[in-house]
């Protein structure tokens, strides 16, 4: 059973943080238009891209996402006037930070998808999914997550010796 399970091809998990006014409606349009796009995308709806804290992206990676898509209204179309302009600066800076830490930026995609662009949503979603599929699973964060759980790290010979000598 286990061996059989390992034979499955890698299916990327992708989290999409989208704004409710444009991209969510765009994705909805893609659905009502019966357009097909990969089922790897999990959509999380936000009031605005300006609400999407870089922490959310980080947490998505930490909790097992292989790719993250952030999408909102085109510049000038924001329901809250300037939310996406602020988000744009924040994400530009955050990308640089992630790159400096050593995260592959190919796994993180930003896009503008309006409520009328069902087709563009399909393109962006498909492209990111295929790219992440090529890259394979995101191992760095998973390794970090698994590392040094206390139960494991306490069993070192050095610590054992220290306990014995108390």
């Amino acid at each position: 059973m286990h061996a059989e399970k390992q034979q499955h091809a890698f299916e990327p998990k992708i989290v999409a943080f989208v704004c409710t006014w444009c991209t969510y409606a765009g994705a909805d349009l893609a659905g009502t238009s019966r357009l097909q796009y990969p089922a790897n995308i999990r959509v999380v709806k936000f009031p605005c891209t300006g609400r999407i804290d870089p922490v959310f992206i980080l947490r998505a990676f930490q909790k097992g996402a292989d790719g993250v898509l952030v999408s909102g209204c085109h510049p000038g179309d924001c329901h809250y006037m300037a939310g996406n302009f602020h988000a744009r600066r924040r994400f530009a800076a955050f990308r640089q930070l992630l790159d400096f830490i050593g995260v592959d930026l190919n796994r993180l995609q930003f896009s503008w998808v309006s409520a009328a662009e069902g087709g563009k949503w399909v393109d962006v979603a498909t492209e990111l999914t295929e790219r992440v599929r090529e890259l394979g699973p995101l191992r760095e964060f998973a390794a970090l997550e698994a590392e040094e759980h206390w139960s494991g790290a306490l069993a070192t010979p050095e610590l054992q010796e220290a306990y014995n000598s108390i």
Binding site: P54, R88, A92, A93, L97, G102, E147
Partner: protein, 309 residues
């Protein structure tokens, strides 16, 4: 090896100390300030600790020496509520600390009229592991002082001390930053992972930062928990990324976070990197003048969006 060319004469600090005491006594006597925030000698030779002096006679205990590493701007933030409210405060600042003060004024945490700034012409301070019996020299100077551009504070109410001809120290942080930037992402990941894995989550970096004045920190919240709080590699990585992100475009580069880190994590490298990137992206530099809007609290319609599909 010519030691004289590479050391800073201790007599300069004595002169600055005398001028500082004189100034502090004056402002306390004539009522310009209700208290002076400065440094006093610590118990160990060569060390100094922050002092708040309210009595003109107490001005005698103030010092300026290479051990005066603390960024006193911290004492004017919300994080140190007990200091505020004594009346108008005078504060002694080095050039790097003044940048933090300018940032706090820009963020409406302080009113320029409520503080009297005594600037110090500062030749440099000790690094975290310096042998404090030695004079300030190549081996003992702090990394940030090697590339300091603000030896003489500007825009202060009064400047004390005089600056000598400063020896040229070898830059270290810039070289380290260039080395990291030249690495592949995988190498950088390994570098930071090793450093962050040692983090014990003491939050000293947060407590000492003049810009970490939030009354409730995102990273202390547990409902919902944004950042894991146990000192485990995953949570540590998140904490340091969040910290660097929150300081992007605000950090004044006083490098206090790095100095207080008990695990010697090169935190200022992250801050410097972000400052560099924001300068490249938006031409913004945390400067000596208070600025109302930082790069991440403002925008231009024609900002670069080449990374957005």
């Amino acid at each position: 090896m010519t030691t004289t060319a590479h050391t800073i004469d201790p007599a300069l600090y004595a002169a600055a100390t005398a001028a500082l005491r004189q100034e502090a006594r004056t402002v306390l006597e004539n009522g310009t300030a209700a208290a002076v925030i400065g440094w006093q000698a610590g118990r160990r030779a060569g060390s100094a600790l922050p002092a708040i002096v309210t009595d003109p006679a107490g001005a005698e205990q103030l010092i300026f020496a290479p051990g005066c590493v603390n960024n006193l701007a911290l004492y004017l933030t919300k994080a140190k509520k007990e200091v505020r409210g004594k009346g108008r405060l005078a504060i002694v600042v080095k050039g790097c600390d003044l940048r933090a003060l300018a940032g706090l004024i820009g963020e409406n945490q302080l009113n320029r009229a409520d503080i009297y700034i005594i600037g110090i012409a500062c030749p440099g301070v000790y690094g975290a592991h310096a042998d404090r019996r030695l004079p300030l020299a190549e081996e003992t100077v702090a990394p940030k002082c090697r590339e300091c551009t603000v030896h003489t504070p500007t825009g202060v109410d009064v400047t004390v001390g005089t600056l000598p001809d400063l020896p040229a120290f070898t830059p270290r942080e810039a070289a380290e930053l260039a080395r990291l930037e030249a690495m592949t992402p995988a190498e950088r990941w390994r570098f930071w992972k090793e450093h962050f894995s040692r983090c014990i989550r003491c939050y000293a970096c947060r407590q000492v930062c003049p810009f970490c004045y939030c009354e409730q920190c995102l990273c202390d919240r547990n409902r919902p928990q944004a950042v894991e709080t146990t000192p485990r590699p995953a949570g540590n990585m998140a904490w340091h990324i969040v910290r660097a992100m929150h300081l992007a475009g605000r950090c004044a580069g006083c490098a206090e976070c790095e100095r207080v880190c008990p695990m010697d994590i090169p935190l200022n490298l992250l801050n410097r990197k972000m400052a560099k990137e924001l300068k490249a992206l938006y031409g913004f530099e945390a400067g000596l003048e208070p600025q109302e809007k930082g790069p991440l609290t403002s925008y231009r319609e024609d900002d670069d969006q080449s990374f957005i599909k």
